[in-house]
């Protein structure tokens, strides 16, 4: 294949990738979009395959990796999506580092240097950038994976002088990068890579808890930039375009997640929150009273309402109550009650997680409404059922300027006529804050395991 036809094929693949993302603007077009993505990738891979000499070995490697990927994709549970995505980011990071090493080892084979020539100086900078972004993505995503799969404590891990250590490491990494630029050899390259690997660990360790959705979006972005960086090194447009699409997608998701928590991106990256320190919430010593009721009471209230909005949080998924809640809403719908679900952007552990969990339970997506669209409707709603959510419905975010979550956009469930809250106990949520919603006159607490409570409600409705 001539270089021109290769690049034209890459262009077709790039357009298909753009259509893939465009398809996700609605569930209806999304499946076709995903198909475009597969075709685009097939075009890119087959085109590149025609350029190589080791076709047999490469196909074998693809089969090995492809089998692993297919099995994981089939078996993974929807609650485990964040872990799977984090694990996959790490693979891209590692692959980027390996490709960079191979490029440095034999630049002639990539056509980025003539035989006997050294790697060009501009390629060295790009190689440096691609490698360190890849290395940080690799180890950072491993830490994120371990935290999300609870193999490592989800709590932020912090120690004194952490930022200075990171800054020092960053500067020395840059130093070895410059050394590599001045005289390209393995020693500065490998030291620089090792420092980047260490930095990946140190940067993600202090972040945890409620900030995980930001971390995972950020690493998504990094994995794209790593691919784009390698694209610069290899003068390969395919890698640059696909990498940039992924990079900007992850960056936008990070921004959306930060906005949904009213947090500055830099603040999240530097760690903190999501554990411990915010816990010094206002405890004015006054014994506050709350009303509690049974599942039967809840069933009665909901069964006689005209409209019910369900606010699910991650606690719902933990209790594996998605299917039960779907049954409950069916029972309510058959009694003529209008049922909808309200989703906060940070419900779940990654962007859009709760939507997937509800879709898995066969909740029709047109019943599932995003925060901005449904917030005006709470005032006209008879009953709101909050289940497994806490901070995202805390009115302090709107009313209490001294609250650590003040300014965070919330689902305004306190405006509804009646609020039912299903919780295990009066314990606080991620942010460690008490929730005034629980003590309002219109609120009834229903204590117990989410799944058990919902099943009891279904029985009472029958």
């Amino acid at each position: 294949m001539s270089a021109n036809s290769v690049y034209l094929a890459y262009l077709v693949a790039a357009v298909l990738f753009i259509l893939t993302l465009k398809g996700l603007s609605s569930p209806m077009t999304s499946r076709r979009g995903n198909m475009f993505g597969m075709i685009g990738m097939a075009i890119a891979v087959l085109t590149t395959l025609s350029l190589t000499h080791n076709v047999g070995l490469i196909v074998l490697a693809i089969l090995v990796g492809g089998t692993v990927g297919s099995v994981v994709a089939r078996r993974v549970e929807m609650t485990q999506m964040p872990e799977m995505v984090a694990a996959m980011h790490s693979l891209v990071g590692l692959a980027a580092v390996l490709v960079a090493m191979a490029a440095f080892n034999n630049p002639v084979a990539y056509g980025i240097a003539l035989p006997g020539e050294m790697l060009h100086s501009s390629n060295r900078i790009e190689l440096f950038i691609g490698t360190f972004v890849g290395a940080i993505t690799f180890t950072g995503s491993i830490i994120a994976f371990l935290k999300l799969s609870a193999r490592l404590s989800g709590k932020p891990l912090r120690f004194a002088g952490q930022h200075w250590l990171n800054l020092g490491l960053g500067i020395s990494m840059l130093g070895f990068g410059i050394a590599f630029f001045l005289s390209p050899s393995w020693t500065p390259f490998l030291i620089m890579t090792a420092i980047a690997l260490l930095l990946g660990v140190l940067l993600i360790m202090p972040i945890g808890g409620a900030d995980m959705p930001v971390v995972i979006s950020m690493l998504n972005s990094y994995s794209g930039w790593a691919a784009a960086g390698i694209g610069f090194t290899l003068n390969n447009n395919m890698l640059i375009i696909a990498g940039s699409l992924v990079g900007s997608s992850g960056a936008i998701l990070s921004y959306i997640m930060c906005r949904a928590m009213n947090r500055a991106f830099l603040n999240v990256i530097l760690g903190g929150f999501g554990g411990g320190e915010a816990a010094a919430a206002s405890d004015d010593g006054v014994q506050k009273t709350y009303r509690s009721g049974s599942a039967d009471d809840a069933a009665f209230l909901m069964g006689n309402a005209d409209s019910v909005i369900i606010v699910p949080g991650y606690g719902l998924a933990v209790a594996r109550a998605q299917h039960a809640i779907k049954e409950m809403s069916n029972a309510l719908t058959s009694k003529g009650v209008k049922v909808r679900y309200a989703i906060h952007p940070v419900a779940g552990r990654m962007p859009g997680h709760m939507n997937v969990l509800l879709a898995e339970a066969e909740v029709p997506y047109d019943q599932v409404v995003e925060m901005d669209e449904i917030n005006n409707e709470f005032a006209d709603t008879d009953v709101v059922l909050v289940i497994g959510a806490n901070d995202v419905v805390n009115p302090a975010a709107k009313n209490d300027k001294s609250s650590p979550i003040y300014g965070m956009p919330i689902l305004e469930v306190h405006k509804a006529r009646t609020v039912l809250v299903v919780k295990r106990s009066m314990a606080t949520g991620y942010a460690g804050l008490d929730n005034d919603l629980f003590y309002m006159d219109k609120t009834m607490m229903v204590f117990g395991d989410a799944k058990k409570v919902v099943e009891d409600v279904i029985k009472a409705l029958a």
């Binding site: 990498g243 939507n355 997506y365």
Partner: protein
């Protein structure tokens, strides 16, 4: 103006334009599909497989080609895993009464 345009400048042009496209397309993604978006971008970032295949290209095997082959396998996990899990998720999103 004279001389040949440096490849870096061409790369930068493509890079900046691709970011613009990505920015506009991703803002149009419905929040309900943010998890599938992440899964599919995982698959798309598997495009590093192209670089890995080029690393594994030379006939003579050396450390570079071996690294390339390993990278091909790693990226293939992403490509297959990413697209298939996205397909699986998207097939769950159904409208009422279907």
């Amino acid at each position: 103006m004279s001389g040949v345009v440096d490849p870096f400048v061409m790369n930068l042009t493509v890079f900046v334009l691709a970011i613009f496209i990505g920015y506009h397309v991703v803002w149009n993604v419905t929040p309900a599909l943010h998890t599938p978006l992440m899964a599919v971008t995982n698959a798309v970032s598997g495009i590093i497989i192209v670089g890995a295949m080029l690393a594994a290209k030379p006939e003579e095997m050396d450390i570079g080609t071996i690294l390339g082959l390993v990278a091909v396998a790693l990226a293939a996990v992403n490509v297959f895993g990413g697209f298939l899990v996205t397909q699986r998720m998207l097939s769950m999103f159904k409208k009422k009464g279907k």
